[in-house]
């Protein structure tokens, strides 16, 4: 590994010298230079919105890190390369980051194809690939340089199943899920847990991300006669399904995975998402100080805009990166090792986050049981709807 590293460094700096860039500044690495993280994610293309949300979360975390004295007196910064979440581009970006000696850690990419296509390059190049939206079960199996704070669906879905089956008393469920790696994995964990809790899954329907029309799907759901609908969706498609469910006359209780948790879900869903139950990993009115600090800071920095889940993931990821770099310094391998040492980092999603070294993921996501009441997310008061 160190062999490749040294070669990479030599190649990288030589190329830079040829390109006429004054790399010497970086290799000298005096204290005025910030410690640099690489971000590979979508800024254009169909997933562009998520890259924009990442930036907001990152920038807020960086402001706070700087205000509290930086990383041992040095500034932390990132360089964001637009991959469009396309594997061809994410592999080129991976080579770029691996051969850029200033980059000490990489964050991203967004989708599984783009992230996992780049993994072998990060692994061989000895640069940590810290994927914080990568719930694909195989992501961290790519090697010991792959780490993730994305909540394992094995962790989250049973909590949602417990909410739907045990607390809301739904016995016959219809499950609608996004037909991606995330949606499929989540659905399997959900269905398994729900059956263990004694519910019956009467119909399961997978839809593709571009889908806008769910009326015919919902007729299938109606004919299966469930007493509850479960949405494993993002907020935009979740809101669409809820609206169309009400339009075609379905009045069943709707439960949704935490990924719909966004002020946008309320805006896009309108009246139709009233009484929707959501199991979520964070909630603005959660009194925990980590959450309140995040929300207050976010609203202050972005003119009163409410943060959503993807903002929170990015914010947490940047804080985690800072904690790791604080221990590991600027050596890439030491940073990898620091992931095994870092403990109880304050986190919006986890309360405090510590890695499970075997799975290279964090365990123990917090779960708040919410319901939409009067157009707002509110803690569920235990009353059935």
């Amino acid at each position: 590994m160190s062999n490749i590293n040294r070669r990479t460094l030599v190649k990288g700096s030589l190329a830079a010298a040829i390109a006429g860039t004054a790399f010497s500044r970086a290799t000298l690495a005096d204290n005025a230079e910030p410690i640099l993280l690489g971000v590979s994610g979508p800024l254009t293309g169909p997933n562009a919105q998520y890259g924009t949300q990442w930036k907001q979360g990152f920038d807020l975390a960086l402001d706070e890190i700087l205000a509290s004295g930086g990383i041992n007196g040095r500034k932390l910064a990132y360089t964001f390369e637009d991959s469009q979440s396309d594997p061809r581009q994410s592999v080129a970006i991976a080579q770029k980051f691996v051969s850029d000696p200033r980059i000490v850690l990489e964050l991203g990419d967004f989708s599984s194809p783009a992230s996992m296509a780049a993994s072998p390059i990060y692994q061989r190049g000895g640069l940590v690939q810290f994927g914080f939206t990568n719930s694909h079960p195989d992501f961290t199996k790519g090697g010991d340089f792959m780490w993730s704070t994305s909540v394992s669906q094995a962790d989250e879905q049973p909590l949602l199943a417990a909410y739907a089956v045990k607390k809301l008393g739904l016995k016959k469920l219809a499950v609608l899920h996004l037909n991606t790696d995330w949606g499929r994995t989540s659905r399997d964990y959900f269905n398994k847990a729900a059956k263990e809790y004694g519910a019956e899954i009467v119909v399961t329907e997978g839809y593709i991300a571009e889908e806008r029309d769910f009326r015919s799907t919902l007729v299938r759901v109606r004919d299966a006669n469930p007493d509850g609908l479960v949405l494993i969706s993002y907020y935009s498609d979740g809101a669409l399904i809820a609206r169309q469910a009400r339009q075609v006359g379905l009045k069943q209780v709707i439960c949704a995975a935490s990924s719909v948790y966004s002020p946008k879900f309320l805006e896009l869903g309108g009246d139709a998402v009233e009484d929707v139950h959501v199991g979520t990993r964070y909630f603005p009115e959660d009194p925990r100080p980590e959450v309140q600090k995040f929300i207050a800071g976010f609203k202050k920095k972005y003119n009163g805009v409410e943060p959503d889940a993807f903002n929170a993931y990015a914010y947490d990821a940047m804080n985690m990166a800072a904690a790791v770099v604080k221990i590991g310094g600027t050596d890439r391998k030491a940073i990898r090792d620091a992931f095994t040492k870092v403990k109880d980092v304050p986190s919006v999603i986890f309360g405090t986050a510590t890695f499970d070294v075997a799975s290279r993921r964090v365990k123990g996501a917090m779960n708040a049981e919410l319901v939409v009441r009067k157009g707002q997310f509110a803690l569920w008061d235990g009353k059935p709807t």
Binding site: T8, V10, T52, F80, R184, G206, G249, K264
Partner: protein, 607 residues
């Protein structure tokens, strides 16, 4: 049984949504014989203009509709005047590409102005619902149906009874004759673009209200469904577009009813292929209508190819071959590896689109077939990677040719639409055929490239491997094109009727071209699979197909060196513009537009 009534109603409702886009497409096709890939972007623009009107200006509904229609019409006029009119005397493919470039530019401008987050576009109609069957319909459903059907009727009346309408029809039948008879063809074009854009904009507004959301990624899907509906109905036929849309909506709805949600789009594209095979000009093409493209070769720019001396090519190959020995970064090598893999795909496409004249918009499917074959063989049967890649190439050649063969009897634009559909079908089959392809989970842990037992892991060795494969296949293809067989290919491209009269069997030669091309594309997909170690159905998508087409047109159709030069340029350009972050796709679109405008025959010209 009442459910079937519901499925029917739902199908008709969503069919109406498609009709709004399809009518505009049909109108433009009727006059310019152009599939306007920017129609979805105008629909997007309409949605956002509508958002400004409703949410910021609080206009009442009638005023909102007028506002959106006028603003969208203006956008249409600008597109016509500055994007398409300069290309009037250029080859057929040039305006098609220009509309793709325009759609990039429009989508990016909207995204930069409004941010990519989806927005709510509230409906301005009262939310009363009428019970029909087991479900309900509301005023907005009726308004959408009303706009779809009445605009088709109005257009029909306009085309049949007004003077400008006559001019439009005259211009669409024979442009030159119409000009000689004193028809101002430019004015006709302007009118058509203005009307089509106004319709497109209003449809974006209504559909946005219908779903209560608009987002910047909605344009491509709208274009795809609109094109399918239009071609099913009979390209250029306005009432046909409405019927095609309703039919598409019904087929999708019944498809969901019988097979489930995940098969929905599969049925849409199968419908298209079946209609094209049975009635190549669509369901409503009149018997007297002239064939859409008398000669396949009208796509190809007449030009004298730039002859690059052999020694210069040899020097270039040598320079690229020793590049890894020079101090260049792995990033540069990786970018070039991407270029060689795209070059392989472009070789494949330039042979079928350039040499034999079958423009393919679904070429990424060949990559996917090769990648899945190679990945599965090496993972599940432990076939050595080198052999698995070759098997991937052979599978792409065989299966790809078999799948595309129904399109061999089609002409002109219809070939590209059929191949677009076949590309989508392959992707959807991969998504749904879980027992083999592992569905949406994809295939991970694909073994790395290896040759004779040695793993090729470092960028340097992957570079040499992919470069070597590409050079070998390029040499073979250059030999093929200059052979007797290659001349037969070009004869079919230039005049298929004459070629047939001369005794050439069109289907056999087209099959041969696809077999050879399929092999190169399959090998490219196979190498990519082992390079990425993870693939799923999204890895090789429609955008790859469009990129490949752009590459071969940039390089010069049928031009082997051009395909490689085009691949290097188009992989390189976005990398060069990487510093421009959010603006880079915008810049890419503008570069594409300038290229089409000033060098439509491609950098190196057509062979």
């Amino acid at each position: 049984m009442s459910s079937w009534l519901d499925y029917t109603i739902n199908g008709l409702i969503v069919g109406n949504v498609y009709a709004l886009v399809a009518v505009g497409l049909a109108l433009i096709f009727g006059v310019s014989r152009l599939i306007n890939f920017a129609q979805g972007s105008i629909y997007l623009v309409g949605g956002y203009i509508g958002w400004v009107a409703v949410v910021q200006l609080h206009t009442p509904l009638p005023l909102t509709i007028i506002f959106v229609a006028v603003a969208a019409a203006l956008v249409g006029l600008i597109i016509e005047r500055f994007g398409l009119r300069p290309l009037q005397n250029s080859v057929r493919i040039a305006p098609l590409l220009a509309t793709i470039g325009i759609s990039f530019v429009l989508d990016q401008l909207v995204m930069l102005t409004f941010s990519p987050n989806p927005r709510a576009l509230p409906s301005q109609l009262p939310d009363v619902r009428f019970q029909v069957g087991g479900g309900t319909i509301g005023p907005l459903d009726l308004l959408i149906a009303g706009v779809g059907i009445s605009s088709a009727l109005l257009l029909f009346v306009f085309l049949r009874y007004s003077k400008l309408g006559w001019a439009v029809r005259a211009a669409s039948q024979d442009r030159d004759a119409a000009m000689q008879m004193g028809v101002d063809v430019n004015r006709v074009n302007q009118a058509v673009f203005g009307i089509a854009a106004a319709l497109g904009g209003v449809s974006g507004l209504l559909v946005g209200m219908y779903y209560n959301q608009i987002d910047t990624a909605m344009s491509l899907q709208a274009t795809l469904k609109g094109v399918v509906a239009e071609v099913v109905g009979g390209a250029g036929n306005v009432p046909g577009a409405v019927v095609g849309s309703l039919l598409l909506g019904l087929v999708e709805s019944y498809g969901v009813a019988v097979f489930g949600t995940s098969y929905r789009n599969l049925f849409a594209f199968l419908l298209l292929v079946v209609v094209l095979v049975l009635r190549p000009n669509g369901l409503f093409a009149s018997a007297r209508q002239a064939p859409p493209e008398p000669l396949t070769g009208t796509f190809i720019a007449p030009s004298r190819p730039v002859r690059i001396p052999r020694w210069a090519l040899a020097v270039a190959v040598a320079v690229f071959a020793i590049l890894p020995l020079l101090p260049v970064s792995f990033y540069v090598l990786q970018t070039l590896i991407n270029a060689w893999l795209l070059g392989l795909l472009a070789l494949s496409l330039t042979l079928v689109a350039g040499t034999i004249g079958q423009v393919s918009l679904g070429h990424a499917a060949l990559l996917a077939i090769g990648a899945y074959t190679s990945a599965l063989l090496s993972l599940t049967l432990a076939v050595p990677v080198g052999l698995a890649i070759i098997a991937g190439g052979l599978m792409s050649a065989a299966l790809g040719t078999l799948l595309i063969s129904p399109s061999f009897r089609l002409r002109g634009h219809y070939v590209s639409i059929a191949t677009l559909a076949i590309g989508e079908i392959v992707s959807l089959v991969i998504l749904n055929w879980e027992s083999v392809t592992r569905g949406p989970i994809g295939i991970s842990g694909i073994p790395p490239l290896s040759l004779l037992g040695y793993d090729l892991i470092s960028p340097t060795s992957v570079y040499w491997f992919s470069f070597g494969v590409m050079v070998a296949l390029a040499l073979l293809q250059a030999r093929l094109i200059s052979s007797h067989l290659g001349r037969s290919f070009r004869a079919i491209r230039d005049d298929d009727i004459a070629a047939r009269a001369y005794g050439l069997s069109l289907n056999r030669y087209k099959s041969l071209a696809f077999i050879f091309g399929g092999f190169a594309a399959g090998v490219s997909g196979g190498i990519a699979a082992h390079l990425y170690s993870y693939i799923n159905h999204e890895t090789f998508n429609t955008q790859q197909s469009i990129l490949a087409l752009t590459v071969v047109i940039l390089g010069g159709l049928g031009n082997v060196v051009g395909a490689v030069v085009g691949a290097v340029a188009l992989v390189g350009l976005p990398e060069v513009f990487r510093i421009a972050a959010e603006y880079r796709i915008l810049i890419y679109g503008i570069v594409l537009l300038l290229l089409v405008r000033f060098r439509p025959q491609g950098l190196l010209g057509t062979i």
